[in-house]
């Protein structure tokens, strides 16, 4: 089963997304902020990271940066946030995020993008 790391400090959001994704046979772990996410990433194998931008301790930009600094493993990153500022979104991509989705989310779109990204990852690995 594919394993996704979901990083967001909004508990309700992570809960809902987790149940929705589990129904699609995806395994989801949740981290409340960048710090927790870094610990989770060090401990486990993930096929995808979905992260928010604004979180205490360590924000989404830093998380994306830390993941991309690690040259050995490539994990696709999806940023999901409320922000519409072009500067912020551009910064996400510059740091190495693969896709930016804006809340409110369309769930079918989210799902297809998740599948896309994981498919790509297989291609990269192969």
């Amino acid at each position: 089963m594919k394993h996704i790391l979901l990083v967001d400090n909004d508990v309700l959001f992570t809960k809902t997304i987790t149940s929705l994704l589990q129904k699609e046979h995806l395994d989801v772990s949740v981290a409340k902020d960048g710090k927790e996410a870094a610990i989770a990433l060090a401990a486990g194998d993930f096929d995808l990271v979905i992260t928010d931008l604004f979180m205490p301790y360590s924000n989404g930009f830093e998380l994306v940066n830390t993941i991309r600094q690690n040259k050995f493993t490539y994990i696709p990153i999806m940023v999901v946030s409320n922000v519409t500022k072009v500067q912020s979104i551009a910064n996400c991509f510059r740091l190495g995020a693969d896709i930016y989705l804006q809340k409110p989310l369309s769930f079918p779109l989210l799902l297809s993008e998740i599948k896309n990204l994981m498919l790509n990852q297989r291609n990269v690995a192969a």
């Binding site: 604004f54 979180m55 205490p56 072009v86 910064n91």
Partner: protein, 486 residues
């Protein structure tokens, strides 16, 4: 001589009585006003969804500007927490004010800073800039570090930051303050949501002394354990929740605290920036901004919100507290010696007829009146002239009323803040009873020493530039609401 003294003290008694009644009448009014403006704020927060500010592409950018002088212990975690603000467009400008420790080295190493060729212009005066750094780490692209020669005061450092800032609003804070994640969102709201042009906003400050803080983030808010900080917490609650929120209702806020305030950069630059010679540079700035707005006939507003967004370290030793309060006393003295022309000047509307007169009569003169009162009291006791039942009833009147006012400010505060456990609030309430007896006389004496110092200094060094130490513990400038005990 004795006859004269008897007469003097006799008539002084009535003056004090009238004064005291006037103070309490104003405080009662303020209590009522502050209740109204807290309710209005809560109502507005229920209607206005902050998400709009995060989502909108039009949200204005904000520069967070803070000076750092020998902060190597906390600088990294605090800058990190500033970079983690919950806001879509902002920059963090750290002005290293000639630190003699490893503050700058630590910043360079942690954030992989690199020197950039920055076209810096002195729009407002500040001491000389040496180098400017940006982070090579793209995750910290919003960080800008300015290394400058020590200017001797916070005003100079903030001015240097303003010159390099690129957004229309700036947040002035101290690098060792712990800020709430939502500080920017909360403070920008009055700017975009008020019918008048807002030139400055601020929010409640509290003591961080006993709070649990993890890498620059407040984990648990607690009432301070040490005695002096508890009293200061009480003083701050009264000053912010009652004073500032009360004046907020009629748009007559005298000062936005230097510990946390957001300003309209355009007006600050037009009025020449912070005054490095002022001991109360925050109040001085606000006076000049208000004056400018009135003189150019623009409508303006200064807003406070009741939410606690900033936790600051309060002096825990008498020595540091004394230094801080003497400084504030000098600052207040300077304000009135600089702006006496505005006092009771109907041309300056609210500022000239309400804000300054109130602060002059009931804030600036209070320690003097109190001192005279105490002398009068002692004299009457010694000369057997005192009528004890009357004296005790008057004392009870003064004491009970000031305790009541302070307790009410805690009740109002409880409407907004829900971070304290009940036990903590209870402790706070108990100390309210001691505050007029123990803490208040101290603060009063320090203020008087401050006035005295300033009076003598200004006589001897008129117009002479004076260098002051940038004393780390003397940050948050509040002109506190006093609870006169006489």
């Amino acid at each position: 001589m004795k006859h004269f003294l008897d007469h003097f003290f006799d008539s002084y008694q009535s003056v004090v009585f009238v004064y005291c009644c006037a103070v309490y009448a104003i405080y009662s009014l303020l209590t009522f006003f502050s209740y109204l403006s807290i309710l209005a704020n809560m109502r507005r927060n229920r209607i206005r969804e902050k998400l709009v500010l995060i989502q909108s592409p039009l949200t204005p950018g904000i520069s967070i500007i803070t000076g750092a002088f020998n902060e190597e212990m906390t600088i990294i975690s605090n800058v990190r927490s500033l970079l983690n603000m919950n806001y879509p467009l902002f920059e963090v400008i750290i002005v290293n004010d000639g630190s003699t420790d490893k503050t700058l080295e630590k910043l360079i190493q942690e954030f992989t800073l690199t020197e950039v060729e920055f076209a810096y212009n002195y729009f407002i005066p500040s001491s000389q800039i040496q180098r400017i750094f940006k982070s090579e780490n793209p995750a910290c692209s919003s960080l800008l570090v300015i290394d400058k020669i020590n200017g001797g005061c916070k005003a100079d450092a903030i001015n240097a930051g303003i010159n390099a800032s690129s957004y229309p609003y700036f947040l002035n804070t101290d690098v060792d303050c712990i800020l709430d994640n939502d500080t920017l969102i909360q403070l920008i709201q009055p700017f975009v949501d008020d019918e008048k042009r807002v030139i400055a906003t601020g929010a409640t400050l509290r003591m961080v002394n006993t709070c649990v803080v993890d890498s620059g983030v407040l984990v648990e808010a607690k009432v301070p354990k040490e005695i002096l900080p508890i009293f200061q917490e009480i003083e701050y609650i009264r000053s912010f929740v009652l004073g500032k929120m009360g004046w907020n209702l009629i748009n007559a806020i005298p000062n936005v605290s230097g510990g946390l305030g957001m300003f309209d950069k355009e007006i600050v630059i037009k009025t020449g920036g912070y005054d490095p010679n002022s001991f109360g540079e925050d109040m001085d700035m606000l006076m000049r901004m208000s004056k400018y707005m009135l003189e150019t006939k623009q409508e303006y507003a200064i807003r406070y919100i009741p939410q606690s967004l900033c936790w600051t370290e309060g002096p825990s030793t008498l020595k540091v507290l004394k230094r801080q309060r003497i400084r504030w006393g000098r600052g207040l003295y300077q304000i009135f010696s600089n702006y006496y022309k505005l006092l009771f000047n109907p041309k300056y509307k609210m500022l000239g007829m309400v804000v300054l007169p109130y602060n002059f009569i009931f804030e600036f003169c209070a320690p003097l009146v109190e001192l005279l009162g105490i002398i009068c009291y002692i004299y009457l006791i010694i000369s057997h002239l005192i009528n004890w039942p009357f004296a005790l009833i008057l004392l009870l009147f003064v004491y009970s009323f000031s305790v009541l006012i302070t307790l009410l400010s805690i009740v109002w505060d409880q409407l907004v803040i829900r971070r304290y456990r009940f036990k903590e609030v209870f402790k706070l309430c108990l100390f309210v009873f001691l505050e007029p007896i123990i803490y208040h006389p101290l603060v009063m004496i320090f203020a008087l020493i401050g006035y005295g110092n300033q009076f003598l200094k200004m006589k001897s060094h008129w117009g002479h530039m004076e260098r002051k130490g940038f004393i780390q513990a003397e940050k948050a400038e509040v002109v506190p609401i006093r609870s006169s005990i006489l």
